[in-house]
């Protein structure tokens, strides 16, 4: 095989704890929590009213060539995160314009927020009077297409993966394969979702939403907090990065995908273990080499027990520290695992473990070290980042620290 090593040289993030790689890094170190009162839709009469929203987002800063009214919030997010990733990688769109590329954005709900608003206006005025400009914002494939068109990437494949809450990792894996095989020269991959009433109502009805804070692996955890955000990573071959003297955040070592084929909403422990094992095998890494797991860690009773058992089953000699970024970020749906991968890369390059915040007492049934509340300095070499979705769509990505001397 002529597979090439693939590295991550650009990170773009929009999150409830900070936008852009520098602010995000600081927030991860400080253990910030992005939870706050919902402002993006009217939460009146919901039993819980807290979520993690992206604040101080100014779309006009990032969207320069596309009329804003043509873009839903999730597409605006993906454009902003892609621009940030490219700037972080030290690249101008013009440098990539005529090179084969892949822009894959994972999402759970696409522009669900737009549909929420359309349905509201339909209730008021009937289906005959919907605003055509708003209706045209709906198709999910616009999350990637908007990036390609805004940046003028003439040879890029725009692709959207709708594999629910693991979609970010699916996108990263696809980018890894496309770059590694030489099919494309670069990939902008990740995930994007905007806060939507529909999703909130659904999770609320399922009894999965926490009343105040998300406390993964905690004995008293109540559930998740829905969130929004976007994470986009720029991937290129190691040779390409070295040739242009780029800063390398991390190397993408491999990934695994599988499907529980078991239940629409309940995860399957053995299948999750198998997914992680597939990822490690693909990365050529033994369980003992993994220094940190960035868990899916939603903070629901079911996820945290199933996932921690799956992790313990994989790491027979005891699991490495296992953190849940959703304690800080909330559950940003399709963006979640992309943000997890971004945080993993930052942890590798800066040498610290971001904490699981809001933590009081670890649930003995979870039985992992979740690095409570305070970041820990640690030289990390290999991090595994999990994304698990309703429908049993699992994806794990393995990242490694890039060292110049390493072969």
């Amino acid at each position: 095989m002529s597979a090439q090593r693939v590295v991550l040289t650009g990170i773009g993030v929009l999150t409830s704890i900070g936008n852009g790689v520098d602010e995000f890094t600081t927030a991860l170190r400080e253990g910030r929590c992005g939870a706050g009162p919902i402002t993006l839709f009217d939460p009146t009469d919901f039993r819980q009213q807290i979520a993690c929203e992206v604040t101080d987002f100014e779309p006009e800063r990032w969207v320069r060539h596309t009329p804003l009214e043509e873009l839903g919030r999730a597409s605006q997010f993906s454009i902003a995160a892609a621009r940030m990733a490219m700037a972080d990688a030290g690249l101008e769109p013009a440098q990539l314009r005529d090179r084969p590329g892949l822009v894959t954005v994972g999402t759970t709900d696409g522009e669900a927020r737009e549909l929420d608003q359309l349905v509201e206006s339909e209730i008021a005025d009937g289906p005959e009077r919907l605003d055509p400009t708003a209706v045209r914002r709906l198709p999910a494939h616009r999350l990637a297409l908007s990036v390609v068109r805004e940046l003028g990437l003439a040879r890029a494949v725009p692709s959207v993966l709708g594999t629910a809450c693991a979609a970010g990792n699916y996108a990263i894996g696809d980018g890894l394969d496309a770059v590694s095989s030489g099919e494309v020269d670069y990939a902008l991959v990740g995930g994007s979702d905007a806060l939507a009433r529909r999703t909130f109502a659904g999770f609320s009805r399922l009894g999965l939403v926490a009343s105040d804070r998300c406390r993964p692996f905690d004995a008293e955890r109540e559930g998740l907090l829905t969130a929004e955000g976007a994470g986009v990573l720029l991937l290129e071959t190691l040779d390409s990065a070295l040739a242009r003297g780029a800063t390398i955040h991390a190397e993408l070592l491999g990934y695994g995908l599988n499907c529980d084929a078991h239940h629409p909403t309940a995860p399957d422990q053995e299948s999750v273990t198998r997914c992680m094992a597939l990822a490690l095998a693909d990365a050529g890494v033994k369980p003992a080499d993994v220094d940190l797991v960035s868990a899916h860690g939603t903070g629901t009773r079911t996820n945290d027990i199933t996932e921690s058992r799956a992790i313990r089953a994989l790491f027979e000699d005891g699991p490495p520290p296992t953190v849940a970024l959703k304690s800080m970020l909330g559950h940003s749906m399709g963006a979640a695992s992309a943000l997890g991968a971004a945080a993993s890369a930052i942890a590798l390059s800066r040498g610290f473990i971001p904490p699981t915040v809001n933590h009081r007492t670890t649930d003995p049934e979870c039985g992992i070290d979740c690095v409570p509340n305070e970041a820990v300095e640690a030289p990390l070499r290999v991090v595994m980042n999990n994304g698990l979705a309703f429908g049993g769509n699992n994806a794990s990505v393995v990242l490694g620290r890039y060292e110049e001397a390493s072969r």
Binding site: R205, L206, G207, H263, P264, T265, A266, T302
Partner: protein, 84 residues
Amino acid sequence: MPVTIDDATEAKVREILVESLELEDEELTRTGRFIEDYDADSLGAIEVLSALEKTFGVTIEQDELSNMVNLEAVLEVLSRAEAR
């Protein structure tokens, strides 16, 4: 106002359970256990909770799900549920 548990209430609850758990009416007994005997899953349980809330205008805390193991238990939970 708490829900009065009478024959009419029980009939309505039966209707909800038969629908949500995909049972035939004669299958459902007062003590038949949803998970063990009727193969109910987590979505089915929440569907029951949700239908009870809507039908009787009450609020049932999520924690009660674990108590709602059979028809008798559901009626008991319903009897102490508060108006929404």
